[in-house]
Amino acid sequence: MIPPAGFALRGGVSFKVALTLVVAVSTALLVSGLSEIYFSSSALRAQLGALQRTEADAAGSRIALFVDEIVRDAATITNLPGDQAAADLRVEAQLLLRRNPAISHVSLVDEVGREQLFVSRFELDRVAGEAPGQAPAPVAHDGGAAFGPVYFRQETEPYFTIALPRREGRAGVALFDVNLKSVWKVIRQIQVGQTGYAYIVDRTGALVAHRNVSLVLRQENLSQRPQVARALAALVTDGGDRAKVEGGPLTGTGEAGMPVLAAFAPVPHLDWIVFVEQPLVEADQPVEAAIRRISTLLVAGLVIALGVSLVLARRIMAPVRALRAGAERFAAGELDHRIDVRSRDELQEVARQLNDMAAALSDARNTLEHKVEERTRELELANRAKTRFLAAAGHDLRQPVHALGLLISSLRLTLGREDQRRLADQADRATDSIRELLDNLLDVSRIEAGISHPSLQVFPVDRLLEQVEFTYAPEAAAGGIDLRVVRSGCHVRSDSAMLARILLNLAANAVRNTQHGRVLVGARRAGALLRIEVWDTGVGIPAQHIETIFQEFFKLQGAPNSGGLGLGLYIVKGLADQLGHPISVASRPGKGSVFRISVPLAEPSPAAAPVADSLGRPLGGRTVLVVDDDPAVLEAMKGHLGLWGCAVVAAPSATEAATVLGPDGPKIDLVLCDYRLGRDSGLDIVNRAAARSIPCILITGDTDPRVQREAEAAGISVLFKPVQAGKLRSAIAALLSREGATRG
């Protein structure tokens, strides 16, 4: 499942799909959310501003009404006829005070500023001449009311003075001190939101009223605040026409520099401006709520988008995964697999193409396999033919060579003259060469036939070394080569016959490839192994051939004629492999070579007590039944065994042999039986003998592994034709001694 590192994770199709979807959804949500926040916040501010503006307008109207009322009430004084008595004026003034509680004092001042009358709510009244004159208050030129600045009485009481001209021909003005606490109350009662507030400034920016009265009492001037400055500027340009003045909303700074949303309205007839302000943090609260709502939506949208994209990705991924899995199975060789994608899109087309490709590949592979099978079959046939030929040749050649060897041996014993014997010896040696060639062919055919039944036993390796020495000393001496075999007292676990073949072959190889110098055979311990080495000072093996020397029919170019087929090392390798003995070679061309074979060391077992040398054991007095359908062989065997002092009963057929082995037959010590007896099998005879506990040796020219297997199954020794006389003798001696041992 894990893809080649690096690309799939980062570039996963589903990941891209999901990313795209999430980005698209969140972008849409963000855009809509932000625009909603933007528009709602500006709309909200406009709305709040309008509300504040309404409040300011209302306050302004109320204040204007308040002032208008005072002016209207005050007219009762100013409209009085000029010749009114001072006492009457006082009463009128007192009544005015009663009518309008906002007016605290009324005074009449003549044109030079002399006070004519002063009526007060708190202080003692004064009539003309009782008080010093003061400058007349300014009166509007149009004869209307003039409004003075705000001032304070009794420290905390806000007042302003309204001046009205006296009518009816009387010069001078009437002054009305108006308590502004009711204006303050109007302002104090304005509440916008939780912390919104209102205040009034006059045309200079000085505070007239404020919810926090101490600010007014401190006579603060707010003309520096941006919203106040703007309002004052607007008032100047628009001449106080309230219809024209755009009263906000605008942003400004409140107390402690806090940003505020402000709206204002001029008070009609007075150069006052009512401000209604709300801190922005509070004004923007609904916007924050909107942000919160939109964030929630955004999160929800993201979650939904993720969910949808996961589902989508799965749906998109399913065919992709099928494609991928299919491709993997194709790669693994499952070309019969078909990818099943029915997404009705490009992926389905890709799947179809992949399937077609797999089908094409499958066809090509099938053709190829067919061809390979054909070739293999042909090769097998050829190989089988070769093996059959080798087997047949082995068998057919063996018979005469077997007889020939026995005959020459017999002949030699009967020859009296020295030159005749030499000729016999030469003939014997020639026969040996043929036999050796046949042995090799037999070995090869056995190796190739795959029959290997190494019978592992523990034995002293010295036996084999001795055999090597005995076998090749004469040949080496004849060739002028110093063959030295270093004996060893070690025991090894191996098949002694197979190991002997190996060593003999290696020794033969060494002796034959060496023209002068020496050949050394020895063994040394290497841990749990015994390494048997065969050194020579021969031509050596070029490095490029080291790998190929163990192949069959290998012969070194320029090597001295060994007379062999080049099978020696092939057999060595085959036997060593079957025994599991590692074999190695090292060589320096022109200097020589060394072959090493490692054999497991073993403790000598009591069972493997040294057997008396069979070669020296006398065979005299024994009766041997020889069964062979070849009269020449029968004759040769008879002669030989007779020479060894044995009494021979010859049986040319199975029937006769059966008669001999019958209950009326002579006492037989040993049976030598050919495997092929015309149509009969030697095995029947052998089994019959075995039934009477007579030791048997089966002699055969067949290389058919079945023969050996059957014989081994029956516990019968097998010798392969052509059998050397010495070999036959030692085999007989071994059998008889074993027989003697079991009997004794």
Binding site: I2, Q94, N212, E288, T296, V299
Partner: protein
Amino acid sequence: MGDLVIRRFKIVALGLITLGLATLAVVMALPTHTPAAPARLPRIGFLSPSWSNQQGQVYPQFGKALAAAGYVEGRNVSVIARFAEGRDSRLPGLVAELVSEKVDVIVALQPVGALAARRGSSTTPVVFLSVSDPVRIGLVESLRRPGGNITGVTNTPVDLNRKRLEILRDAVPALSRVAILARTGNPNSQAQLADILVTAKTFGLDGRLYNVKGPAEFEAAFARMAIDEMQAVLLVQDGVLFFARAQIIELALKHRLPLIADGRVYARDGAFLSYGISDYATLLSAAVAQIDMILRGVPAGEIPVDQPMDIGLAVNLQTARALGVPVGRTLLMRADDVFE
């Protein structure tokens, strides 16, 4: 591969969801600027030197004024009231009690109460009521900026005794001798006396002071007025006298003396004239406005002393008839209240 991608997806999804939730949490946690409901109700101490049943008229009115401003006892405010029941010596102890109750503001009545409250705590804000001239008795540094931790509402914008004398002079024909009834134990009354006497002299009147310590001395004082042939009585504003007004009004009638006092209640209860605060409730609501500011965190010493402006003239015609004092048209027109 698919599984891996999907697992990766889940991780990314989880990450995004977590991020989103975190954002949401942060957004939700943004300050809302709504004033959090206070952990405990604001406590208002109410301190009166008088009896709870007498002051009973003021105390319930105070509750109504609080309610009018949105403060409801038990819901968003709690009021702890203490009454000295006429024994001024108890006031410091009561102030200590209120302070130990950790009240947020003490409303103290009358000069003795206000002074005791101011002495009893330097940290607890005090709002005084029923004090005529807080500057003169050393309660505040100035009306505009009281300083310390105290503010309040005065009984009148200025000393109106002189104005009352003027009204009495205008109302009672041929007035020449005026008795001035005062409880000089009240520091405010003490302070005003000199002014009153000077004004009387300005008007060409013979003004005489009749000092009383309490209701027990009323009889004797009025007896002396009769002996002195006083023609009218000017009552100098005082809490003790206010609560004993029935007795005073009765004695004035008995001795056929037109009486002018401060509160409208006097005229209603039988005094010939009254000139002063028309409605005590306006003083209470002014005090509540100050309390509101204090509870919002404005230092009391920064809040200007409030001075009531709704001064009114009241006439009791029944009393006038009983006294045989003619009531002129001007007086009637001037009067804000006329009791038949």
